[in-house]
């Protein structure tokens, strides 16, 4: 444009100057993240002071730790001989390792069994937990796992779990066969099954009615309340006496009437089959097989379970049982049938309103009163029942949240496709509702796993019970606490933290919405 002679024109860009030292690197980071303003500086100094105090206190204790000693006295002698004023006695962990993990009654030569079961649990859980990465066919192993684990942990004859498995498979086969029968044959079968079921039901109801009459006669003595209770039981008894024959006929008729569709016939036949197999065939068949080919592990009674193993057993069993129960309760609470809804609401609110300890007391001292006389329920089984009920109520509330979060259009769309209730729940509603509920379910599961330590209150020897009982009260390790409690805290932390991290990962995997 202008042809003025310029003295100098830079032909290339100047390389950018480095930012000032206070605006780059570690200095900048520290200024922004640690010393932004006087308040932040104060906080940082306070935090450094606290961490410093903690490290100064804890590190020598940890570093001087004695790993090899027979008793707390020996351990303190070693420490004072070395001139140390502080130091941990980790020797207790070495000395009582088996007790902490397996309890003090589990046979020592069988420790490999729960260990193996635990390792297999990881492989069994993998296909369910990491569904994208593990082929679906490994789910077969997950299905077999409960039987294997039961046999490994409790021992006894291998034929018992095998026969139960066989019974379940046979039932599934019968279910398939009945489902595929042609209508005529199914009608005949429905007639037989319906008559049998109706007769059986009428008999049961008749027994119930006489039982109610019996109760009404024995509660009458306790004043006005007793009289009222007695009258109520009498009324219920009369109700049952009136209805036991019509109910039997009706249920029989319902099964027969359903022959064309076949749902009821198949379910009732399958139930009937598995009942007969488990109640009448299981023990003779498994006994006979064991007599021919004995495959046995030393049987360990439930009361010998203990240590961290007991927490893991209770945790896994109760979580896996309470999820289906929780789903049923949540669906029941959503039901538009007032009676069923009422029962579910009362159950959920009742269980959520009382502490787990009271339920464990129920398992410990009260449940036996409600069982038939002379029936001998294992304490561990009673505890499993109560913990499962407890966590099922919480899971039900989580799933109810998931169900409520689904738009109503999903339910209507399922209806308009002509799906019946079961199909719409199974194919449309639950897959979506469960996906929403996963974080909540995992929270409940973690909470439940932590709550398994509460069984130490009803004198079961889980890891906390082992520490408070056999370890702290032994002459060797009297009133040792930091080392053992920190160990217990650590094993719980490892499991619970991994589960919550897994849940966050899964949430990210399942997020199909746009963010």
């Amino acid at each position: 444009m202008s042809d003025t002679e310029l003295a100098f024109v830079r032909s290339e860009e100047i390389p950018p100057a480095p930012p000032p030292a206070s605006e780059a690197g570690a200095v900048k980071w520290m200024r922004e993240n640690l010393f932004a303003g006087w308040f932040n500086t104060l906080l940082t100094i306070l935090a450094i002071y606290i961490i410093g105090r903690f490290v100064v206190f804890a590190f020598p204790w940890f570093w001087n730790g004695v790993w090899d000693a027979g008793s707390i006295k020996e351990c303190r002698d070693i420490l004072s001989a070395a001139g140390k004023t502080t130091g941990a006695c980790f020797a207790v962990l070495v000395d009582r390792w088996d007790h902490l993990l397996f309890g003090f009654k589990y046979p020592a030569e069988g420790y490999w069994r729960p260990t193996l079961a635990f390792i297999m649990l990881i492989f069994a859980a993998a296909p369910a937990l990491f569904a994208q990465y593990v082929p679906r066919k490994f789910l077969i192993f997950t299905g077999l796992y409960p039987f294997i684990a039961f046999w490994l942990v409790w021992g006894g004859s291998l034929w018992v779990p095998l026969c139960i498995l066989a019974a379940i498979l046979a039932t599934a086969y019968i279910f398939r066969v009945v489902e595929n029968l042609d209508v005529g044959a199914r009608g005949v079968l429905a007639g037989i099954v319906g008559a049998a079921a109706g007769l059986g039901l009428a008999f049961l109801l008749f027994q119930g009615a006489t039982e109610l009459w019996f109760i009404s006669n024995s509660v009458g003595a306790g004043g006005a309340l007793g009289t009222l209770a007695s009258l109520l039981f009498k009324a219920a008894s009369i109700f049952m006496f009136v209805f036991f024959i019509p109910m039997g006929i009706f249920v029989g008729y319902a099964i027969y009437n359903d022959a064309e569709d076949g749902g009821l016939v198949t379910v009732v036949t399958a139930l009937f089959a598995i009942y007969v197999m488990l109640a009448y065939l299981l023990s003779p068949v498994s006994g006979a097989l064991n007599a021919i080919i004995p495959i046995e592990l030393q049987a360990v009674p439930s009361r010998d379970m203990g240590g961290y193993m007991l927490c893991l057993i209770l945790g896994t069993v109760c979580v896996s049982l309470s999820i289906p129960l929780g789903i049923v309760l949540a669906l029941g609470r959503q039901s538009n049938m007032p009676l069923i809804k009422g029962v579910c609401v009362v159950f959920i609110e009742f269980v959520r309103g009382v502490p787990l300890i009271t339920l464990l007391f129920v398992a410990n001292v009260m449940l036996a009163y409600f069982m038939p006389p002379q029936s001998n329920f294992d304490l561990i089984l009673r505890v499993i029942i109560m913990i499962t009920m407890f966590s099922a109520a919480y899971i039900a509330e989580v799933i109810r949240g998931g169900l409520a979060a689904l738009p109503k259009g999903q339910y209507e769309a399922a209806d308009s496709l002509g799906l019946n209730y079961t199909q719409s729940i199974r194919l449309i509603i639950l897959p979506q509702a469960l996906k929403i509920s996963i974080p909540g379910i995992v929270n409940v599961a973690v909470g439940l796993f932590k709550d398994t330590t509460l069984v130490s209150v009803i004198s079961m020897f889980d890891i906390v019970g082992m520490i408070r009982g056999p370890i702290q009260q032994s002459t060797d390790w009297i009133s040792i606490y930091w080392e053992v409690y920190l160990f217990a805290a650590m094993v719980f932390f490892v499991v619970c933290y991994s589960i919550s991290q897994y849940s966050q990962w899964l949430e990210r995997q399942l997020a199909t919405d746009h963010k």
Binding site: N33, L34, A36, N40, L43, T44, A47, I48, I50, I51, L204, G208, A209, E211, L212, F214, I215, S218, G222, F233, A236, M240, F243, F250, A254, N257, D258, M337, L339, I340, R352, G353, V354, P355, T358, F361, V365, M366, Y369, M371, P372, P373, V446, D451, T453, L454, S456, V457, V464, R468, S479, Y481, W482, Y485, A488, A489, F492, F493, C496, Y497
Partner: protein, 423 residues
């Protein structure tokens, strides 16, 4: 069933009731299901009730609550109301119940403070502080509360000096806070307020209880509360009228301090300092190790959960709100208190309710450290002494159920008052 062969053919089939409709017709099917459910429930009751009656008869027991009136015969070490071993089981249960409420209240307050501080600090832009808080939250959330209770209890009884360490010419331990508080393995001994001029006392008969005095103090505080509210309302009105908020802090301070001060001076408040007599500290207020263990363990454990709720609540307030408040010229602390927290509170309160319920229910773990709450008295010693498992456990459940329902009712009222008022 009648066949209507010669009836006129109509387009709609005649609505006659058939038995199959009970199963196939959605209008009747739910009735059928409920009827079956009813029968099943009654049958279940019959099974359970019949077993109960037989088992009780076999054990020679009956269901009776008469034991509540019988003398309990055991001592309770923390008594909010008068109680001795001759008192009844019923009174022991009430003492336990009050102890449960005491520890639950203390733990709820402390957990809220810890949780709010930790939740806010976890969002701090100070890297170190937020990491320390994440560490705290993760460590405490993922370890059973029972283990925390036992750890703190063990520290209380093993690491603290015994009362005799305070004795002698060269004591190994000394009292803290200007010689007023002693931390011992038998609990913490601190100064207790006493009224020399107690209301129930005459010139020569000292008062038996200070309940009336405390009522007067509470009345004075209530008065201050209402006056302070009136002052604040006046300040708001003035601000709305003139645009300038009058400074009220000196008035508020006077309102809170003067009435209580007058009442306390009139009652003659003195502090009774615990002193070492015999083998233990006497006088003052004793807080037992079991209460402290339970209180702090519940507070820091639940505080970690509350911190997460608070963090989630604050993060749920959209950033636009903060920016808009900043654009209006509000300072950071005003943004937090006027804009962010009121909105975050709506998200925080519902989970906070369930955390309070959890504290109340977890306080039943008192039984592990020998704190005599209602589980320890009614569900513990009373159960063992009388053998009345069914009655005591049912009462225990009823109590916790009532407390849970009450807390959730109260907090729901609070929640509704905080809720966003929509059209």
């Amino acid at each position: 069933m009648t066949t209507l062969a010669d009836a006129p053919v109509s387009n709609t089939p005649k609505e006659s009731f058939r038995l199959a409709m009970l199963l196939n017709d959605t209008r009747y099917r739910s009735l059928t299901f409920q009827f079956i459910a009813l029968v099943a429930i009654i049958a279940f009751m019959a099974f359970v009730g019949g077993n109960l009656v037989r088992n009780l008869a076999e054990a020679g027991l009956n269901i009776s609550y008469a034991f509540l009136g019988e003398p309990a015969g055991y001592d309770i070490n923390q008594r909010p109301i008068e109680y001795d071993s001759q008192s009844s089981h019923g009174r022991a249960a009430v003492v336990g119940l009050l102890n449960t409420l005491i520890v639950a209240f203390l733990a709820c307050m402390t957990a809220t403070v810890i949780g709010v501080v930790a939740g806010v600090l976890r969002l701090s832009n100070n890297w170190l502080v937020s990491k320390v808080m994440s560490f705290y939250v993760e460590i405490f959330r993922n370890v059973p509360v029972l283990i925390w209770i036992l750890i703190i209890f063990s520290i209380m009884i093993n690491a603290l000096p015994g009362p005799r360490d305070f004795r002698g010419d060269n004591p190994t331990a000394s009292m803290s806070f200007f010689d007023t508080v002693a931390f011992t393995n038998r609990g913490v001994f601190g100064p207790a307020p006493q009224f020399t001029n107690s209301f129930g006392a005459t010139a020569d008969v000292p008062a038996t209880s200070t309940g009336l005095d405390w009522l007067i103090v509470i009345a004075a505080l209530m008065l201050s509360f209402f006056v302070a509210r009136a002052i604040r309302a006046w300040a708001t009105k003035t601000q709305e009228a003139t645009g300038v908020r009058p400074a009220t802090w000196h008035m508020l301070l006077a309102t809170w301090v003067i009435p209580v001060g007058i009442v306390l001076t009139f009652l003659g408040l003195t502090w009774e300092i615990p002193a070492l007599r015999g083998f233990n500290f006497q006088g003052g207020m004793q807080i037992r190790g079991s209460l402290i263990a339970l209180w702090f363990a519940l507070a820091i454990y639940t505080g970690a959960f509350i911190a997460e709720n608070v963090r989630a609540g604050i993060m749920a307030v959209s950033k636009g709100q903060t920016e808009a408040a900043g654009a209006l010229g509000l300072r950071p602390n005003l943004i937090m208190s006027l804009v962010v927290l009121p909105q975050a509170l709506r998200v925080i309160i519902p989970p906070l309710i369930s955390q309070y319920l959890n504290i109340t229910k977890n306080s039943s773990l008192a039984i592990a450290v020998g704190y005599m709450d209602v589980t320890g008295t009614l569900g513990g010693i009373t159960l063992l002494q009388t053998g009345r498992a069914i009655e005591t456990i049912l009462l225990l459940m009823l109590f916790y159920l009532t407390i849970s329902l009450l807390i959730s009712a109260v907090m729901n009222v609070f929640n509704n008052s905080m809720k966003l008022k929509e059209r």
